[in-house]
């Protein structure tokens, strides 16, 4: 998981990174161990948070699109061996930056499973928060 490799940079930015997943706490802990993750994980097997943050499900045609298949092949080439997923494989991911006033400063709603913001995009979010802090 690319996010994990940038943990120190997010910490330097003063951000807290929290993951949200659909599985049970046991599965989440196994997932953390599998990828040596140190981010906290919220378990949301009933999709309560996914719903209130407006994250929908993919269609079958988007699940098997060339972009998604290419991303899967790239993951395999990096040595990521897929395991049996727990949860809803059709669920679309997303990323939100919430400031200390409780306002969403950035939102990314993935349109298909391959549509994720790059690490560079996420690291650039420090400028969004800084703009607000100093009124630029």
């Amino acid at each position: 998981m690319q996010l994990h490799h940038s943990k120190a940079q997010f910490e330097d930015m003063g951000f807290q990174v929290v993951l949200v997943g659909l599985g049970s706490p046991d599965r989440a802990e196994a997932f953390k161990k599998q990828f040596s993750l140190s981010f906290p994980i919220i378990c949301d097997p009933e999709k309560k948070l996914y719903r209130i943050y407006g994250l929908g499900r993919s269609s079958f045609s988007r699940m098997v699109s060339p972009a998604v298949l290419l991303k899967g092949l790239k993951a395999l080439s990096r040595g990521h061996t897929p395991s049996v997923p727990q949860g809803d494989v059709m669920q679309l991911p997303g990323v939100f930056l919430i400031d200390t006033a409780g306002k969403i400063r950035y939102a990314h709603y993935s349109k298909d499973p391959s549509d994720n913001p790059t690490i560079e995009t996420l690291l650039a979010l420090k400028d969004i928060v800084r703009k607000k802090k100093y009124g630029h």
Partner: protein, 43 residues
């Protein structure tokens, strides 16, 4: 679809962490900006 600078009020909820602890989501953004990353699935 990517939306930047959305400025909507974030929804709060009671959440459960993988270690079994329960917290309000708003507790997480109280002291520092929160990057909330929703995954597709574990695995």
């Amino acid at each position: 679809m990517a939306v930047t600078e959305a400025y909507q009020i974030a929804m709060d909820a009671e959440v459960t962490f993988s270690d079994g602890t329960d917290r309000r989501l708003s507790d997480l953004w109280e002291k520092c900006p929160l990057l909330l990353v929703f995954l597709r699935h574990f695995g």
